[in-house]
Structure formats: structure tokens, C-alpha cells
Amino acid sequence: MKKNKIPLFKINEHVLFREQNLVVGQIPIFFVCIDDTNQRYLVIDLDFDTDKYLIAQVSNGIIFDMLSAKITMREAFSKAKQICYLFAGETMEEDEVCEVVYSEIDDEDLPDNDAYFSVSTYSELLEYMKSLCIYEVKLNKRKIYSISNLHLRSFIDVMDFMPIRGEIAEASHKNKPIDTFFIVTENNRNCDSENIYNIRRKTTRINCFTKEGVL
């Protein structure tokens, strides 16, 4: 699904556009929006008759973890940076936005407890998930690379989307792809939201290097 050019909502002076539908009944009832600063939001269309929404500002990692079924849909909302109810008016300017804290949200307005998102194999959501998978790699506490796992050998099982020991990932340096493949040697799943992994160059076992040589 391409990012829609028509603005849908405005939150804190940021205009939100629909980026990806996640669940569609008669209409999309659960979807991701993105704003003009590339911040993403989970949106639930709560009620057809009243045009009422629950909107949660979340990190890419939270969205990915939810779509990977590592956290429940409800947990994704509990980890939001900011949550609000939005009552849509006839125009965006007439919308009523009410910011809330997670504990104030009506239980009936959240996904069921213990409900994990189920994504179909080979669906367009897999491609969307890959677009969220950017990992920062640090050497000596300095950010060196951004790794995209677009070229993981196996992605049929969505649980394999997270780099795990033994996977090969293609790397980029300063946004330019480099002809080097890394094997992830440590899966630090308990690390912070930046998903930092230790990696080793495939042949020399040196931690990192660039085309110009070893760092």
C-alpha cells in the first residue's frame, strides 16, 4: 500500500497520513499512519457511527514487534509515547483530540488481552515489516552502520525477521550499500529499542570494516 497523499488527522500540529492498513473489515479498522516527521502511529477506528479513533504514537520497533507477534496488540498501545482519542469532525480542523494516559483508556477501547497480531505469509504486510527493520550497529559505542535485513535468507516464518545467530545481513555505510556480508553472532534481544547487535565479518572475524579497510 502506498502512502496516501490525503491527510487524515492532525495531532500536535503534525499531519498524519495513512501508511498501511493492518486489519480491514468492511472498512480499515486498524492501520498505521505516518506524519510529516516520519513518526508512526497505530490507529484503531473504534466505532463506525461516531467516527471515533484511538491513536497511539509508537516507535518502528514497537510496530515491528507487534506484527511479529512478539508483543500483543494491547502491549503495543501500552508502550506508546503518546495516546489520544480523536473524534472526527467534518474537517480535520473540526476534530476533537483528547490526550490520555494509558491507564485512562477504557478497557473496551483496547485490543483483547493476550491477543497477538496474526500476519499472513506472503502478504503485503511482510514487505511493510521489512521496511521497518533498520538496525543500528555500534562499534566501540559509536554508530557505524545501519543494517537492513532485506536479504535475510529466510523470511517465510515471520519470527525469523529478527536477525538471529548465523543469519547473513546486508549492510550499508553512510546509506550506501557495501559489498560485505555479516553474520550475526549475538542476538541481544534484551537490548534497548535500537536493537543493537554484535556482528562479525563473515571471513575474517573482525567486528566491522568498510570498503576502505578495517576500522
Binding site: 496516501n4 490525503i6 491527510p7 487524515l8 497520513f17 495513512r18 493492518l22 486489519v23 480491514v24 473489515g25 468492511q26 472498512i27 480499515p28 479498522i29 486498524f30 484503531i44 477506528d45 473504534l46 466505532d47 463506525f48 457511527d49 467516527d51 484511538l54 496488540m73 472526527a88 469532525g89 467534518e90 474537517t91 480535520m92 476534530d95 473496551e108 477501547d109 483496547l110 485490543p111 483483547d112 491477543a115 497480531f117 496474526s118 499472513s120 505469509t121 506472503y122 502478504s123
Partner: protein, 152 residues
């Protein structure tokens, strides 16, 4: 191709096809055996003894039936998929829908038949696009039943 079908479709789809906004996909099924499938609907579309025709409306048809609703403001009317009635042949594909908060939601089950529209089926996702003919929305409900119902 399929020029003879255009005049049979519901108003919104027929107008879009005649205006060449898009063409019918070349891989649609015009003649097919009945397909058993599930659909997520709003409980308000369930009436005593049957269904509100809106239960089988496409998103575009819903937009024009509810013109003041903001949720349709970014609906892409150049995408033929938004003119279809969406169903799934695998009920598990509606699990996400059933776990999401909605004031009123239901899942219905029934048969898709070629006399009422053309289909395009994705066998990997089990999703079925059903582009309906004009005037069939009222009678479709005769072959569907509610299998899951929740109203808060």
C-alpha cells in the same frame, strides 16, 4: 474484454469502468462454483431475519452512503479493489478483526455465487474480492448467517 459485464455491476463500479478509471482485472472469475466464505460486518447491518444491504457494500459504496464520514476522505477511488465486497475463505484470517475493539462487530458466513458478481481469489491469503452486480445486495443475505456477534 468483459465489455458485456460492465452494465451489470453496481452503480459506482459501473460508472468507474465506463469512465475508464480502471479496467477489470484479467484474472477475474466470471463463472465459478459457489465459494463458501466469511465476512466481517458491523452489527448494525444485521436486521431481524436478514441483513441490511450495506453489510455487503464495498468501501466506495459505503462512502457514498455516508458522505459526511471523515474515515473515507482518503479512500482511493482509482483502485478497483475498493469497489469489491471483501471476504475470506479461511475464518482464521478474521482473528485480528475479532480481537480489536469495536462497539459492534460480527462475522457472517455464506456462499458467493457467480450469478451475483465476479470474483478474484488470493489462494495464499484466502482473500476474495467479490465485485457485485446491481441490485443483488438485498438478496445475498439469504445465503449468509451470523456466526459471531458482539455488541457493547
Amino acid at each position: 474484454m468483459y465489455d458485456d459485464l460492465i452494465d451489470k455491476f453496481h452503480d459506482r463500479l459501473r460508472i468507474a469502468l465506463k469512465n475508464k478509471i480502471f479496467n477489470l482485472p484479467t484474472d477475474i472469475k466470471v463463472e465459478y462454483a459457489p465459494i463458501s466464505a466469511y465476512r466481517a460486518v458491523d452489527v448494525n447491518d444485521i436486521a431481524e431475519g436478514g441483513f441490511n444491504p450495506e453489510a455487503f457494500y464495498s468501501q466506495v459504496e459505503l462512502k457514498y452512503a455516508h458522505p459526511n464520514m471523515r474515515r473515507f476522505v482518503d479512500l482511493d477511488e482509482n483502485d478497483i479493489e475498493n469497489y469489491s465486497c471483501s471476504l475470506y475463505t479461511d475464518i482464521d484470517k478474521l482473528n485480528n478483526y475479532m480481537h480489536l475493539p469495536r462497539k459492534s462487530k460480527a462475522v457472517i458466513f455464506g456462499k458467493i455465487i457467480s450469478e451475483e458478481g465476479v470474483t478474484k481469489e488470493n489462494f495464499q491469503t484466502t482473500h476474495v474480492h467479490w465485485w457485485l452486480f446491481q441490485g443483488v445486495h438485498e438478496q445475498i443475505g439469504d445465503r449468509f448467517e451470523v456466526i459471531s456477534y458482539e455488541k457493547k
